[in-house]
């Protein structure tokens, strides 16, 4: 009976691993494509797919034939053993020896190419995209006196630092406030606790978009708009309901005896929170920090409305959107830009990953 169950689990394990691997491949393949594209030149990205960097078979020029000037090009012609009309030759005709005969150019001026099929791969890699993104695009400007000069556009570095300046407080603020609030809801008795908690949880469903205009007009009145404080508060405010809810579930599940023992020893709420609850809550705090970090780092809307796109303050997402140019003419730069913007979230995720898994499962089973 037991053995039977184990083998079933084993078989199921293989199946689920296979499914997981497949899902991972689906998720990673486009990312891999973007990575490859970020090392390719602009015109290559536009003309061929990223998979053409792998060896594949392609027709290659073996011989060029110039059709005789007096050749009648309206009828059937023969080159290198292939016979056909102009239209057929334009599409390409297989010669008996396995080579392809194809007419290149127009009827009057074109030439005939004999092609062989051979292995090829386009592996002309370049760092131009990264250079352009990291150091800024180059623009040539001539002033009214006719003096030419090359200007550099904004680079990613300043935007990267701006993003960091926005993200760190916007993560720490709801984390600290949320943990305190969660502890209060879980372990401090006060009138109306249930009602206030319900309201806070209810705020989870309020979409950020509907409050943009009222919040913005308040900010304008307070002179906060365009400052980092504005986004910190906005992100903290919208992040708090989730923070409180997530942390509450964890903190409320702590063993009562632990806290009671501390109270008996004469510890105040603040001491219990600082010395007992916070150290135990490491995993769940890390989980929330990852959530909030990735959310704020990737945020475009809140930054767009409350900070704007002045180069001095603009964040990475805004810079990325502008990198493609007024009409999207430089979209190939997005590949390199995206990878640079990904570096930090990836580092944060892998750095805190072990807490993340523990934090997600913690509190799910109450003992």
């Amino acid at each position: 009976m037991t053995q039977n169950a184990t083998t079933r689990v084993g078989r199921g394990g293989i199946l689920s691993s296979a499914v997981l691997l497949l899902l991972c491949a689906f998720w990673l393949l486009p990312t891999f494509g973007v990575l490859v594209s970020s090392f390719r030149a602009a015109d290559d990205v536009r003309s061929t797919g990223w998979w053409s960097v792998f060896p594949h078979r392609e027709w290659r020029l073996a011989e060029t034939i110039n059709p005789a000037l007096d050749l009648d090009r309206s009828g059937v012609m023969e080159f290198a053993g292939a016979r056909g009309t102009f239209e057929e030759l334009r599409a390409g005709i297989m010669a008996p020896d396995g080579r392809r005969v194809i007419w290149v150019g127009n009827r009057r001026l074109g030439t005939v190419q004999v092609q062989e099929r051979g292995w090829t791969s386009s592996n002309a890699f370049t760092l131009d995209n990264y250079e352009s993104v990291l150091t800024g695009k180059q623009y040539e400007v001539t002033n009214a006196q006719g003096v030419k000069q090359t200007l550099r556009g904004d680079d990613l570095l300043a935007a990267f630092l701006n993003s960091l300046a926005v993200t760190l407080p916007a993560v720490l603020l709801p984390l600290v406030v949320g943990a305190l609030a969660a502890y209060g809801f879980a372990w401090v008795r006060f009138p109306g606790r249930g009602l206030v908690f319900t309201i806070v949880v209810g705020l989870l469903v309020v979409p950020l978009q509907i409050s943009l205009v009222p919040v913005l007009s308040d900010y304008v009145r307070l002179g906060l708009n365009g400052t980092y404080l504005a986004v910190w508060l906005a992100h903290a405010g919208f992040g708090l309901p989730l923070a409180i809810y997530l942390l509450y579930n964890y903190i409320a599940a702590l063993p009562r005896e632990l806290l009671e023992a501390a109270t008996v020893d004469g510890a105040s709420h603040l001491q219990i929170f600082r010395l007992i609850v916070l150290p135990i809550c490491g995993p769940i705090l890390a989980s929330y920090a990852i959530f909030q970090f990735i959310w704020v780092w990737n945020d475009y809307l809140v930054a767009l409305i409350f900070i704007g796109s002045q180069p001095k303050v603009q964040v990475l997402t805004m810079r990325l959107a502008e990198i493609v140019g007024s009409r999207g003419n430089d979209w190939h730069l997005l590949t390199a830009g995206a990878f640079i913007s990904m570096v930090l979230p990836l580092a944060v995720f892998f750095g805190l990953q072990r807490y993340f898994v523990r934090g997600l499962t913690a509190g799910s089973i109450k003992s």
Partner: protein, 445 residues
Amino acid sequence: MIYTVERTIKHAALLSAGLLFATSALAADMPKELADALAGKYKGTVVTAFGAFADADEVKFNENVKAFEEQTGIDIQYESSKQFEATIATRVDAGNTPDIVDFPQPGLMANFAKAGKLVDLSTYLSPEYMQDQYAESWIDMGTKPGKDGKPILAGVWERVNVKSLVWYPKKAFDAAGYKVPTTWDELVALQKQIVADGDTPWCIGIESGAATGWAATDWIEEMMLRTNSLEDYDRWTSGQLKFDSPQVKKAAESVGSIWLDDKLVYGGTKAIVSTSFGDAPAGMFADPPKCWLHKQGNFITSFFPKDRELKPGVDYDFFYLPGIDPAYGKPALVGGDIWSAFSDKPETRAVMEWFTRGDHLKTWLASGGTVSPHKDVELAWYGNDIDRGVAEILANATSVRFDGSDLMPGEVGAGSFWKQMTAWVSGQTDLDTALKNIDASWPSN
């Protein structure tokens, strides 16, 4: 004594103004605030500006205002947004309004004029002065009904681009012995010649993500101007003439005579919808060219392949898309950037007044990539032959009309018009249904 001092200041103002505007002797008298600003009266003030243009245009704008900022001490702080249309409404609603705003289309500006948010510029830019600076059609296109329904001067044009241009790969074009067509019949003959040579004449692509189809609306507008009267065009863009009218249908059918003919379009009709508007011209620069003609505004050169140095006038060039019916002359379809003011501070006035003067654009014209709508601009100021040629087409046009889809309400001009044209070209609907669907989407008020 005081009188003399004032006169000296005035003299200094005129002198320094003369330095910056040495070539504007022909232009009208300088407006008061601009003269004051050039005399340094508004030193230390800030004018916040907001607009949709970014990237190269933003760099050129900042470079262009530098001399003005240094002389006047007014700091013009330009901020661009990729989400301009969405952001500006939020900002105005919340009271976080910039001093001046650059609208890429007058339709959106008209909404703010109607809501009473814009300053009526005619309070300091007199009609006589404006007529000295701009051709009548530009003033008309900047005049919109205000809050009480009376027309106000809602904006002044800074830069324009011309859409009625056909680009071609000059080197291969000349080698093949083709001639630039100057009439519609010559264009049709050229198409026939290219087809007879076994090639396809046109590179056409209208894919543009969520905005797929906008390039098709430009073609319809070109044909409207070439097969119908200007009155009909104006009635059409203002909603009085239905899409489902013989006039608009005629224009669409003229487009269809090229677009729906597989022989005339590279990749066939089905390729039009799937080819990105930016990638479409690349076919012209293949060796040998896959297609020979591409109609698009002057901005398209920034999409040309970058792997080799394509030289204007050598590797590529353009010609004016010829008129069809001589009765309708040589119309030019244009787009452009128009500045409006949300504040009425003297330094804002000075900047707006500065925008009305052709010589304010000198640095930008020398840098290339734009065309001036001002009367007092000399062709010699243009830094390259392409821009100069475009300016000449604009100057020689018998009529100038703004991109119609930008004048229509957003639901149509940036919505159903794009979508239904795409559906028609891709064969999902027939022309009649497409045109009726657009009419149905026109907002009722």
